[in-house]
Amino acid sequence: MGQDNLRNTIKVQRAIKSITQEELAEIIGVTRKTINTIENGVYVPSTVLALRMAKYFGVPVEELFRLEE
C-alpha cells in the first residue's frame, strides 16, 4: 500500500480571497504558525479545523484537502 499524502489548496484559496496567513489565523482562531504548518503539509489538521477553514473559504473540505497517492 502506498503512502497517502495530504495535499491542500489553502495557498490558492488565500490568494483568491487575498488574505494573509495572519488574517486567516485570526478568522479561524489559531496562530499564524498553525496555518503555516498546515499549508506546508507539516501538520494535518483535525476535522473540526478543516471544516472551519472550508466554511470560511466557502468550498467543500475535499476541495481544500485531498489525498494524493
Binding site: A25, E26, G29, T31, R32, K33, T34, T37, P45
Partner: protein
C-alpha cells in the same frame, strides 16, 4: 484582541519557556551533579550556577503564570495559543522525554554505572528525560 496580539503573545510565551528551560537545566544540573557543592575552589562557581538557575527559573515561571492568567481573560487568544497543534506538540515532547529517559537508563546500564550512587543515577535519568522533553517542546513550538 488583534492577531498582532496573538502573535505577540505567542512570541512572549516562547521566550518565557526558553528562559524557564534554561533556568531549570542550570539549577538541576548543579543540584544533581554537584549535590555537595563540588570540590574546593569550584564551590563558588557551582553556587553561582545554581543561584542563576533558580533566579532565571523562578522569574520565568512567575512571569509565565502571570502571562497565562492574563491571556485566559481573552478566549480568542487563549484558544489560539492552546490550539490542537500545540497540544499535539506537547504530547510529542513528552514522548520524546520518555524515550530519552529510557535511553539514558540503557546507556548507564551498558556503561556499567550501577556502581554509581543510586541517587545520581536516578537524577541523570530524570534530568535527561525532563530537559529533553522541554527542549523538544521548544523545537516544536519554534
Amino acid at each position: 484582541m488583534t492577531q498582532l496580539t496573538i502573535e505577540k503573545a505567542d512570541r512572549r510565551r516562547y521566550r518565557l519557556l526558553v528562559w524557564q528551560t534554561i533556568g531549570f537545566a542550570l539549577f538541576f544540573a548543579a543540584f544533581i551533579f554537584f549535590p555537595d557543592g563540588g570540590r574546593l575552589g569550584e564551590v563558588r562557581a557551582i553556587e553561582f550556577i545554581r543561584g542563576l538557575g533558580v533566579g532565571l527559573g523562578l522569574a520565568a515561571t512567575f512571569k509565565l503564570s502571570h502571562f497565562e492568567r492574563k491571556v485566559r481573560s481573552d478566549r480568542k487568544v487563549a484558544g489560539a495559543l492552546d490550539n490542537e497543534m500545540y497540544r499535539m506538540y506537547d504530547r510529542k515532547a513528552l514522548v520524546c522525554g520518555f524515550y530519552v529517559s529510557i535511553l539514558a537508563a540503557f546507556v548507564l546500564f551498558v556503561l556499567e554505572m550501577s556502581a554509581v550512587d543510586t541517587g545520581l543515577t536516578a537524577g541523570i535519568i530524570m534530568y535527561a528525560g525532563i530537559v529533553s522533553s522541554r527542549v523538544a517542546k521548544l523545537i516544536y513550538y519554534r
